[in-house]
Each structure stands twice: as C-alpha cells, then as structure tokens.
Amino acid sequence: MKAFFSNEYNVLTARIFLGTLLVVASADKIADPAAFARSIEDYQLISGTAAMVAATIIPWMEMLCGLALIAGVVVQASALLTGALLLAFTIAVISALVRGLDISCGCFTQDPAVSRIGWLKIGENVILIAVTAFLYSAQNTRFSLEHYIGSRQSGS
C-alpha cells in the first residue's frame, strides 16, 4: 500500500489526469463567465452578483490548480484546493437532485443541452476527490518542477 502511494508513476499519472481535467473544465467558464453564472444560478443556491463573483473566481481556481498539478508545483496545496472545490460541487449537485431540479451540470460545458446532473455525477466526483486525497498524501515529487528546482539547488 505504501509502495502504491509513493510510486512516482502513480503520482505522475494522477497529477496529469486531474490537472488536464481541471484545465479543460476551466476553459469554457473562463471564456464566458456570464454563462457559467447562469449555470450556477440553475442550482438555485446563490444568484445575482454572488453567482457572478463565484463564476469569476472558481474557473481560475481550477485553471491554476490544473496547471500547478501538471507542472508539479505546490502539488499538495493544489490537491487540497481541488478537493475542496469538488466537495462543494458535489454538495451542490446532491442538493439539486434532492430538490428534484433537472438542470445541466455546468461542469465542462455551459451548453444546457449537454450533461444533465444525475447520481452518476456524484460517483465521478467521489472518484476525483479520492484522486485529490491520494495526491495530498503522496510524498513523491519526482517529475515535478519542484523536484527539478530542488535538485538543482542542492546540487550547486
């Protein structure tokens, strides 16, 4: 088990997978924050300016975390922040499902016709949260910018 957690290739795969997912997810939202704000409003948890502010900040959190995970800088902090975001998304989806809202997820695209929320989404998010937990607890930093910088500093 410990070997799995410290295996450098497992950590690398998880980083690239989650990082790419986050960057892809953030692209549409950054391009059109107003559309993302409408997706947020569909959940009927926040609305108006609050939704717009969330739509301004959340995509950049995803983008920054995604890039940091791919590059291998502040990996654990990125995993932590991503985990917190995913947890919030999951709670929002569960609350919408419980209230019987039939809305589009707004996760990867803002097209209302695509990807409506369902219990499958919760499953996906749980898996992604597990990946963030893995990256947070993993100690291996090989193939990361941090490792490269660290080794150069200690070598000189």
């Binding site: 409408r38 300016t49 717009m52 900040i57 902090a77 809202l101 039939d102």
Partner: protein, 161 residues
C-alpha cells in the same frame, strides 16, 4: 501538523491568486461582473430575467376564469391524481423528456401556467423553463401553487379512473 498548516496556507495563496486573476481578466475583457449585462438576475427564488414570469393568485384566477390559460401541474402523478386545479394537465418535471406525446399536444395559442405544491417546491420554475426552451412563449409560473389554490377552495378536481 505544521506540514498541513503550510499546505492550507499555500492553498489560500492559490485561491487569492485566482481571485486576482479572475477579476482582472474579466475587467480587461469587459466580461462577467464587468460585462454589459452584469446583473444576471433578479433574484427572488434565483430566477433569471429571461425566466417565465411569476404570477400571483388573482392573476391566476383571472386567467383560469377567462379560459385563456392551461394549467400544467409539475407534481408527481400520484399527487395530481389526488387533486389538482380543474382542467390542468399533469407533466411531472422529471418525466419531461419521456412525455413527448403530451408535450406536442399542449396548445401553442394558450398561456401555459405551471405550478407545483407551492412555495416549498421549485419544479414549477424548472418546468416553465423547459417549456420555454421547447418553444412555448408566454409561459407563466403560479408559484403559490396547489396549496394556495386549495386553501382558497377554488375549482378543483380529482382523477377518477
């Protein structure tokens, strides 16, 4: 413990960077908060401005009596069978996609008024949005819904099989 604290601090810095990047990028591109339609919406019940309009009981009664409107009940079939606004049709929100036959049979020349239990439920709003997206114009939401209609003892009927 300090290791965790350090990670939390780094995560907070990342979040702060996202705030700065988010607001500066939207400001530069005049989008989102800084965009032309910055206010995405009014906000009672989280309703968007392009959402179908909400009506109160007097208007609902007026439209009912004049026969201009068809009431569409967003509740579950079981609740609908126990009692509904007279003349209403039942289109539960979660069956919207599977009830295409009913959807096609809805008149396009009448006002459609959606309702559900009352202020505790949102499916009337969801159903109205779906109807609008399906091309029906002039959809209204009778948000006070069944509970108020029933409380005022207005014309009702039950399903008798």
């Amino acid at each position: 413990m300090t290791r965790h604290r350090q990670r939390f601090r780094e995560a907070a810095v990342l979040a702060a960077c996202a705030v700065v990047l988010g607001f500066s990028s939207t400001a530069i591109r005049s989008k989102g908060v800084f965009g032309p339609n910055a206010s995405v919406g009014p906000t009672a019940q989280g309703v968007r401005p392009d959402s179908p309009t909400m009506i109160q009981l007097p208007e609902a009664i007026h439209l009912f009596e004049s026969g201009e409107a068809l009431f569409v009940d967003a509740r579950h079939a079981f609740d609908f069978a126990r009692g509904h606004i007279r003349g209403a049709v039942n289109l539960p929100l979660n069956e919207f996609d599977s009830r295409t036959g009913l959807l096609d049979s809805l008149p396009r020349n009448r006002v459609l008024i959606t309702y559900c239990d009352g202020v505790e439920c949102n499916s009337s709003i969801g159903l109205a949005s779906r109807l609008r997206d399906a091309g029906y114009s002039g959809v209204r939401i009778f948000f006070a819904g069944w509970s108020e209609w029933q409380a005022k003892n207005l014309p009702m009927e039950t399903n008798t099989p």
